[in-house]
C-alpha cells in the first residue's frame, strides 16, 4: 500500500465519519424526542419567523428530501437561526471560532511540548526526579477531575490572590492598540490554557516515557549502543525518532478528549468560544444553535484527525514508502 492509497483511504474514512455525524445530527435534532415542529419552532416566534423556519427546514417535504436538503445546508454552513439571540448561528459561531482555536492550539502545543520533553527526559534518566514527576503527573492527569483543578485555580487566582483575569477573552473595554490588545488576550489566556496544560501534560509525559522506554528496550537501540553511537544520538535520532509514529497516534487519539476538555474549560472561564456556546445553547434548548455548534466541533475534529493521519503517514516509513516485502 503506497502513501497515496493510504491518504485516499484516510480521506474516505473522514468522509464516512462526516457522513455519520451529519446523519447523527439529523436524527438527533429532529426525529428523536417528540415532534420536530415543536423542537424547531419556538412557540414564542412570530408567525413570519415560523414560516421562515418551516421553509428553512423544509418541514413539509418528504423525509428523504428533507435529509438531503439538510445535508446541503450543513455543508454550506447554513445553520439556521438561534432561538435565543435570533441571529444566524453561523455568524455567531464564526465570531467565537477564533477564540476557541487560539485556546485549543495554545493548550495543545503547550501540553504536547511539555509532556513530550518531560517524557523523553524521564525515560533517559530513570530513577531521577523527572521520572517521579512524570509518574505523578500521569496519575494526576488520569485521576483528578480537570474541572476541579480549574475551579481551584479559579478560587486561588480569582479570589484569594486575585492577580489573573478569570473570565472572558479580553478586557472590557479592550485596551487601545493592537499590541496592547494582544497582550491583554494573552493575559486572559493564562488561566484557561495554563490549567489545561497543567492537567494534560501528565498523560503525554507518561505515554512518551512508556513508548520511549519500550523503544529503548528494542534490539535496534542495543545495536545503536553497540555501534558506539553517543547517548544523545541514540536518544534523539534513534529512540525519539522511532516513537514519533506512536506519538502522532496519541495526537489523534487525544483530540476528541481535548475537545471535550475545551468545552468544560470554556464554560468555567467564561471563554467566548464554541464549546461554551454549545453548552449554553443545549441548556437553553436552543436547538439550531446547539446543532450548529456540535456540527462545527465534529467537523473540526474530523479535519484535525485527517491532518494527524497525514502526519502519521509522513513519520512512519512503513506507510510513506509502503511495504516492499512482507513485514
Amino acid at each position: 500500500m503506497g502513501f497515496r492509497s493510504y491518504l485516499l483511504k484516510r480521506l474516505f474514512y473522514a468522509v464516512v465519519v462526516l457522513f455519520v455525524i451529519l446523519t447523527f445530527n439529523y436524527v438527533l435534532f429532529r426525529i428523536m424526542p417528540g415532534d420536530p415542529e415543536k423542537m424547531i419552532l419556538d412557540p414564542n416566534f412570530t408567525p413570519e419567523a415560523k414560516m421562515e423556519l418551516r421553509r428553512q427546514y423544509g418541514l413539509d417535504d418528504p423525509p428523504l428530501t428533507q435529509y438531503l436538503n439538510y445535508m446541503k445546508s450543513l455543508l454550506t454552513f447554513d445553520l439556521g437561526m438561534s432561538f435565543s439571540t435570533r441571529r444566524l448561528v453561523w455568524s455567531e459561531l464564526r465570531e467565537r471560532l477564533p477564540n476557541t482555536i487560539v485556546l485549543f492550539m495554545v493548550t495543545f502545543v503547550g501540553t504536547a511540548a511539555l509532556g513530550i520533553s518531560l517524557g523523553v527526559s524521564s525515560a533517559a534518566n530513570r530513577g531521577k526526579f523527572s521520572e517521579q514527576l512524570v509518574m505523578g503527573a500521569g496519575l494526576f492527569a488520569h485521576a483528578v477531575p480537570s474541572f476541579f483543578i480549574q475551579l481551584l485555580l479559579l478560587l486561588l487566582f480569582g479570589y484569594y490572590w486575585p492577580i489573573l483575569p478569570i473570565h472572558g477573552t479580553i478586557s472590557a473595554p479592550p485596551p487601545d492598540g493592537a499590541w496592547a490588545q494582544f497582550l491583554d488576550r494573552a493575559w486572559h489566556l493564562i488561566l484557561p490554557a495554563g490549567s489545561n496544560i497543567v492537567i494534560g501534560f501528565g498523560s503525554w509525559a507518561l505515554y512518551t516515557r512508556n513508548t520511549m522506554l519500550e523503544a529503548l528496550g528494542q534490539d535496534y537501540i542495543v545495536t545503536a549502543r553497540a555501534k558506539g553511537l553517543p547517548r544523545r544520538e541514540i536518544l534523539y535520532h534513534h529512540s525519539l525518532r522511532s516513537v514519533l509514529p506512536p506519538i502522532v497516534t496519541l495526537i489523534f487519539m487525544s483530540l476528541p478528549g481535548a475537545v471535550s476538555g475545551a468545552v468544560i474549560t470554556e464554560s468555567i472561564f467564561s471563554w467566548h468560544g464554541v464549546g461554551r456556546y454549545l453548552l449554553d445553547a443545549t441548556l437553553q434548548m436552543d436547538y439550531p444553535a446547539a446543532q450548529g455548534a456540535f456540527y462545527l466541533i465534529a467537523l473540526a475534529v474530523i479535519i484535525s484527525n485527517l491532518l494527524a493521519d497525514i502526519a502519521y503517514g509522513l513519520v512512519d516509513p512503513r506507510i510513506r514508502v509502503g511495504a516492499g516485502a512482507k513485514r
Binding site: 553497540a226 558506539g228 522511532s242 516509513p317 516492499g324 516485502a325
Partner: protein
C-alpha cells in the same frame, strides 16, 4: 598473546527477588583470526556474556568482578567515552540475536551503516556511502537498495544487512549471537556459509553463540560449553567433541554420533536448567548429573585442565567421564 582474554567475568542482574547470576566466573580466550563457539541451553547466560563483553548491560545488570583484556588493554575499566569511540564496532562488533529487529524501522538501512562508519572513522560521507555499497555487495545485497527501509527487506536480507553493518568498521572481533535463529532453514545455511567465508577472507576473529552444536563443529576452532552461568567445559573443538570431560558436554556431544552429522539441538538432556536466582549448591549440574555424589553436592568443582592442550573442565569426575562409556544411559 590472545586477541581477547576473559577472566573470571561476573555479571549479575538485580531483580526484585535477588541477583540473577547470569555470568559467573567465566574465563576463555579468543585468538586472532580464530573462531570460538559458545554453546549451552537457552537461559544459561550466553547473551548476557556477549553483552557484558561490549559493556551493553541492561539497567539492572552490573559487573561483580573479572576482567576483559583486549590486546593487553583492560576493557572494563576504560572510560565509557573511550570505550564507545575506540572499542565498540571499531574493534568489536556484534550480530544480534533476533537480527530482524536490530534495524531501526524508521531509518534507511544504508544510512544505519553509514552512521556507524561516520561515528568511528574520519571519512567523508561519500566514502562511507561507497563503503556501504561495497559491504552490500560483499554480503550479497544489491547496493541499489541502499535507500530502502527495513520493512522493505526480507528476513534473510535484513540479516545480511546486519552482517554488513557488523563489518562496516573493519573490526577485529565479531560476536554473533544466534545469528540465524529467526530465519528459515535454507536461509540459515546460506547465512552461516557466508559468515564463515567472510571470516576466512577478512581474517576475522569471531565468537559464535548458538545452541546448534553442529554449527560450532563446522565453523569454530574452540568451544565453550556453558551451564548455568558457568563454563562447564572449554577447549579445542576436536578435544571437546572427541573426548568430552564434563557429563553435560558428554551428553550434548554424544547425542550426535558424528561431527559432520545432522544438526542437533542442545536441549535433549533430562531435567531443567536451574534457576539462576538460587543456583544449586556445589556443582550446579548435580541435580541432573548421573554421576553426582555428596562431594558434587557440597563442593563446587574448580576449572582445571585435563589432558593438556588447554582443555579445561569444571567437574570432580572428569577422569571417569573421559574413560568413556555412556554415563547417560545407565
Amino acid at each position: 598473546m590472545a586477541l581477547l582474554e576473559v577472566k573470571d567475568l561476573k555479571m549479575y542482574y538485580r531483580t526484585a527477588r535477588g541477583h540473577v547470576r547470569a555470568v559467573d566466573s567465566v574465563s576463555f580466550e579468543i585468538e586472532q583470526g580464530k573462531a570460538l563457539g559458545i554453546a549451552g541451553e537457552s537461559g544459561c547466560g550466553k547473551t548476557s556474556m556477549a553483552s557484558a563483553l561490549l559493556r551493553l548491560l541492561p539497567s539492572n545488570g552490573s559487573y561483580h568482578g573479572g576482567s576483559v583484556v583486549m590486546d593487553g588493554k583492560e576493557l572494563l575499566t576504560m572510560s565509557e567515552e573511550q570505550f564507545r569511540k575506540d572499542i565498540r564496532w571499531k574493534r568489536i562488533s556484534m550480530i544480534f540475536q533476533g537480527a530482524m529487529n536490530a534495524l531501526n524501522p524508521v531509518h534507511k538501512v544504508g544510512e544505519q551503516i553509514v552512521e556507524a562508519i561516520l561515528h568511528h572513522e574520519d571519512v567523508s560521507r561519500e566514502q562511507a556511502v561507497k563503503r556501504t555499497h561495497d559491504l552490500f555487495g560483499l554480503v550479497g545485497i544489491n547496493p541499489k537498495r541502499f535507500n530502502e527501509y527495513p520493512h522493505e527487506f526480507s528476513g534473510g536480507m535484513k540479516q545480511r544487512a546486519v552482517i554488513a553493518m557488523a563489518l562496516a568498521c573493519h573490526p577485529d572481533l565479531i560476536i554473533a549471537d544466534e545469528p540465524t535463529t529467526a530465519l528459515d532453514v535454507m536461509v540459515q545455511a546460506q547465512i552461516l556459509k557466508s559468515i564463515a567465508e567472510l571470516r576466512q577472507r577478512l581474517n576475522l576473529s569471531m565468537m559464535l553463540i548458538t545452541h546448534d552444536l553442529s554449527v560450532i563443529a563446522q565453523t569454530c576452532d574452540s568451544v565453550v560449553i556453558m551451564y548455568a552461568g558457568k563454563v562447564a567445559e572449554y577447549g579445542d573443538v576436536v578435544d571437546v567433541y572427541t573426548r568430552p570431560a564434563h557429563p553435560y558436554a558428554m551428553g550434548l556431544v554424544n547425542s550426535f554420533p558424528n561431527i559432520q552429522a545432522a544438526r542437533t539441538e542442545v536441549r535433549s538432556l533430562p531435567g531443567f536448567p536451574p534457576n539462576l536466582l538460587a543456583p544449586p549448591s556445589g556443582c550446579r549440574f548435580h541435580p541432573r548429573c548421573p554421576l553426582a555424589d555428596e562431594e558434587c553436592k557440597q563442593v563446587e568443582p574448580a576449572v582445571r585442565e585435563v589432558g593438556g592442550n588447554k582443555h579445561m573442565v569444571a567437574c570432580h569426575k572428569a577422569e571417569i567421564v573421559q574413560q568413556g562409556g555412556d554415563i547417560w544411559s545407565r
